[in-house]
């Protein structure tokens, strides 16, 4: 995936997942909306998001190697993270 042109399907899936877990946040969602630091996504919704990201990257994530509040705080950040961590050749 190219960092400057996020995969529109992946973005759609991501927004769908956020909507599914928390319908109240979606009206105001933009690519740079703060998701975690603002408290819009927490607890079970955040955990489901983490599992989805793990599935999309095709690898087990090491919790010591990144800060989710920084790298996953926005839709753009999450898509970028997946792009950087996806195992080469993983269909996603």
């Amino acid at each position: 995936m190219n960092r400057s042109s996020p995969n529109p399907t992946l973005r759609g899936h991501l927004i769908g997942l956020i909507e599914e877990n928390n319908p109240e946040v979606c009206a105001a969602l933009r690519d740079d909306t703060s998701l975690i630091r603002s408290g819009l996504i927490d607890s079970m919704a955040l955990f489901n998001l983490a599992l989805w990201i793990e599935q999309e990257t095709g690898s087990r994530l090491d919790l010591n190697t990144f800060d989710p509040s920084v790298e996953w705080n926005t839709i753009a950040g999450i898509l970028d993270f997946i792009g950087r961590h996806r195992i080469r050749g993983f269909p996603g």
């Binding site: 877990n21 975690i36 607890s43 955990f47 690898s59 087990r60 090491d62």
Partner: protein, 375 residues
């Protein structure tokens, strides 16, 4: 947004009701909260933060007092242990947790607290915590010793359930399995001590004074550990939703102990037995206590935290059949982790030091399941 307020005694019944989402028993929750937050040996009353909606608690997080020690002169650090995160089902994924934690951290920071610890978080709470700036020290290294009988019955049940002619026997196997899913300890009702070896006896009550004296007498390497004094032992084993058994090795002074624990509420996994603490004056006593525990009878699933045990003790566990828990890895790893939240914003990792020991470095910890409410 939700209002976040500190707990007040007039909300006791409401909070017990909210907490009962854990195991479905309001009376058990009330007794548990009273023991943990009102009779804490270090703080007396420990803080609980509540998220309110229309004046009713819909979320909570408790912070009970915990006294840690480290270094050659056993320097003490009074900290808070975050636990009991509960959100009413209809309010989940609506920012309640973020609201509570943010208000709690602001309040605790203002009151001068330096660190909050967590040793009991499940996978969901752990991940939420990391996203809120907690630091991950590492996994507790849970080891399990599963009963071969139970494993075989589980496998047999799985196999015959899908078989054309034999599936009718699956119910019988399931019923047989059910009878093996509790340890032989659970049936022991006698209040008196039972001899289980020349020097070892099984008790149902702790001996806080002697246990504390033993801990004090054994050489201490200075790693970060919870203070285990008389007051702590006397309080710790009064947890009303756990049942404890104590193996004591005497010759004639107390030379070692091993503490076993099981859950009481039906909603919790009653097939599991934990070794929550294990202390001995030498390797011979340590090994003897483990052997005595294993001779007590059938344990479907015996578990211990091993991440910070000496290699010799880990080898001893391995030779007696303990294996890595296999609770998965990555985000969904089921085992517990040590988490630390420095309350002063922007504290660099190198500054998270207590008595010369690094709070964020697993090798500087001596952690036992008893320090966590898992045990």
């Amino acid at each position: 947004m939700f209002d976040v307020v500190p707990y007040r005694p007039e909300r006791k019944a409401q909070v017990a009701e909210l907490h009962s989402y854990f195991w479905g028993d309001i009376a058990a929750s009330a007794a548990y909260l009273e023991w943990k937050y009102e009779r804490n040996p270090y703080l007396g009353e420990s803080p609980i933060y509540l998220a309110l909606h229309d004046g009713k608690p819909v979320g909570m997080r408790g912070m009970f007092g915990s006294m840690w020690e480290a270094g050659s002169s056993s320097q003490k650090l009074l900290g808070l242990h975050a636990d009991d995160l509960v959100v009413a089902p209809e309010y989940r994924s609506r920012g309640v947790v973020a609201n509570i934690m943010s208000a709690a951290f602001d309040d605790l920071r203002e009151k001068g607290w330096e660190y909050v610890f967590s040793l009991s978080a499940g996978a969901v709470t752990r991940f939420s915590s990391l996203a809120m700036g907690w630091r991950n020290v590492g996994p507790v290294g849970e080891l399990r010793r599963a009963s071969r009988r139970v494993e075989l019955l589980r496998r047999l049940h799985g196999t015959i359930s899908g078989m054309r002619f034999f599936h009718r026997y699956a119910k019988d196997v399931q019923s047989l399995l059910g009878r093996h899913l509790q340890s032989d300890l659970r049936g022991r009702r006698t209040g008196a001590a039972i001899k289980v070896g020349a020097r070892v006896s099984l008790w149902q009550e702790p001996r806080p004074e002697e246990m504390a004296r033993l801990v004090e007498r054994i050489p201490y390497d200075g790693r970060i550990r919870h203070v285990r004094d008389r007051a702590y032992f006397a309080w710790r084993f009064q947890n009303p939703v756990h049942k404890y058994w104590f193996l004591f090795w005497e010759e004639p002074d107390l030379e070692g102990y091993l503490v076993l624990q099981e859950y009481l509420p039906e909603a919790m996994d009653r097939s599991v037995t934990h070794i929550v603490d294990w202390e001995a004056s030498d390797d011979r006593v340590r090994a003897g206590l483990l052997q005595a525990a294993l001779r007590l009878g059938h344990f479907p699933d015996l578990r211990i935290w091993s991440a910070t045990l000496p290699d010799k003790t880990k080898a001893l566990l391995e030779t007696t059949g303990f294996r890595s828990g296999g609770g998965g890895s990555g985000i969904a790893d089921q085992q517990k982790y040590i988490l630390v939240k420095p309350l002063q914003e922007g504290t660099p990792v190198k500054d998270c030091v207590f008595a010369g020991r690094r709070l964020l470095e697993l090798s500087d910890w001596d952690v036992r399941m008893m320090y966590s409410m898992q045990g």
